[in-house]
């Protein structure tokens, strides 16, 4: 990540006009958030005259079409015009699986060719691709295949100059998530969207760290200031959770627990 690339203050800001060659991951915990973020990504792309490929589950594609309709966009017309292409991610996973791994040639045939075709269409000013095959493979317990698929998607997106958004289902306040794929997935993307409400996430994490760890000073402050971080752009509140896991692992579970318990806006706890 270039040192001075502008940081994003919200996922809406990031997904509106993403910087070229962005490969973004959304960590989601509800389908509503998935539809909100991916829907925004698609709507912005279509309105800007870009072509869009959606590789999602049947359920998510149906909800995304409903979202487009609610935004005054006609998905059928966009599909007929070749501006929007929907692709079944479950079928895609079945097609590319080769034992416990994936078949690179089949993956290329499945998505690379479609993207190449859309990219060649001069009517469109850009190309966006959303996918969740990595997530499906992960949920099937095929983490190695999931990471291989992610790497291949990244290579294909770079080759075709595509802005790529991935959605990854994960409980961001469960320590087990961090033991598994969470870090791997973040490190394989240029930008991470860790939560729907960035302000609340920051307040929750700061509050949890203050309660569990206390004020960051002395050696802890030095540790935080010189911590290497992750090679992707992510809000500081999510980066802090990775730092706590790295540097204060014995307090990590408690920090996550407190952050999860942080009151939602309008709740009685907050009012108190």
């Amino acid at each position: 990540m270039p040192k001075n690339e502008m940081r994003h203050a919200s996922w809406q800001e990031l997904l509106g006009p993403p910087s070229p060659a962005s490969h973004i991951v959304q960590i989601y915990d509800s389908d509503d958030f998935l539809v909100a973020a991916v829907g925004h990504f698609v709507v912005e792309g279509l309105r800007r005259g870009e072509a869009v490929l959606l590789t999602g589950t049947e359920t998510h594609l149906r909800r995304l079409r409903q979202h487009l309709h609610s935004q005054g966009l006609n998905a059928d017309a966009a599909m007929r015009a070749g501006q929007l292409l929907l692709s079944d991610a479950d079928a895609g996973v079945r097609a590319i699986l080769d034992g416990q791994g994936i078949d690179a040639a089949r993956y290329e045939a499945l998505t690379g060719e479609a993207l190449s075709h859309m990219r060649a269409d001069e009517r469109f000013s850009g190309l966006r691709w959303w996918g969740e095959m990595t997530n499906i493979l992960h949920r099937q317990g095929r983490d190695k295949a999931a990471l291989a698929a992610e790497a291949q998607a990244d290579a294909i997106a770079k080759r075709h100059g595509v802005t790529l958004l991935c959605s990854f289902h994960c409980d961001r306040f469960d320590p087990r998530s961090y033991d598994g794929m969470m870090r791997e997935v973040c490190c394989r993307h240029t930008h991470v969207i860790p939560a729907q409400d960035y302000v609340r996430h920051r307040l929750a994490v700061n509050h949890a760290i203050e309660e569990v760890v206390g004020e960051i000073r002395g050696p802890l402050l030095q540790s935080l200031m010189s911590w290497k971080g992750l090679p992707c752009e992510l809000p500081s509140s999510q980066a802090l959770l990775f730092w706590v896991r790295d540097c204060i692992p014995e307090r990590f579970a408690e920090v996550l627990e407190r952050a999860r318990a942080y009151p939602h806006p309008g709740s009685s706890m907050e009012a108190a």
Partner: protein, 199 residues
């Protein structure tokens, strides 16, 4: 005159490059003065134009007094134009309508003016206790612009933030938008350089 390095002024740190954009997290008034007084004393010694934008817990009057205590002839430096000490309320009353990029341009013009008047460079600081939570993101965007614009220039910058005021995430936000962090673990000072990350 044309050296790419200058004295930092803080014990334990000798030479720093022009263009450096440093930050420091202080705990209280004494800690803040311990950083800024030797920093500006070195700037005046190096023939740099020094601009000190003050805020609580160290007012402009306090800053002048602290600097005088170390033997600097503050009145003479101010009269010559080598030293400007102003409270943020006074300074921002003029700059508040400017957006981040315009404030950066203002600093760059100030550096050009200093060089044209025979100074070796520009040395500045800003203490940001005046920041409101709602202004945080916009101010961080400004810091990012500074971090991008200052490196090729003969400007030395030290931004000071009160520890604990912006939460742990605030520390990361600030660290990532500066070339390095000044730390004061004991009698001496040290520079902590930022690692590459996308925070």
């Amino acid at each position: 005159m044309n050296s790419a390095l200058t004295d930092c002024g803080l014990p334990g740190i000798r030479r720093i490059p022009y263009g450096v954009h440093m930050c420091h997290f202080y705990e209280g008034r004494e800690d803040l003065a311990a950083a800024l007084v030797p920093y500006f004393k070195a700037g005046l010694r190096n023939n740099e134009r020094c601009i000190w934008i003050t805020a609580a817990p160290l007012s402009a009057a306090d800053a002048r007094q602290e600097l005088s205590r170390t033997g600097v002839d503050v009145d003479a430096a101010v009269a010559q134009g080598a030293l400007v000490v102003r409270d943020f309320s006074e300074w921002y009353a003029e700059a508040e309508k400017l957006k981040g990029r315009q404030v950066v341009d203002l600093w760059l013009a100030e550096e050009e003016r200093a060089l044209a008047e025979g100074y070796s460079g520009l040395r500045i600081t800003g203490n940001v206790t005046f920041l409101q939570p709602a202004d945080w993101e916009e101010f961080m965007a400004y810091e990012a612009l500074v971090d991008e614009a200052f490196p090729p220039r003969r400007i030395v910058t030290l931004c000071t933030y009160r520890l604990g005021e912006h939460g742990a995430s605030g520390v990361l936000d600030v660290v990532h938008r500066h070339s390095c962090t000044l730390d004061h673990p004991d009698e001496g000072w040290q520079i902590l350089t930022r690692s590459v990350s996308g925070i």
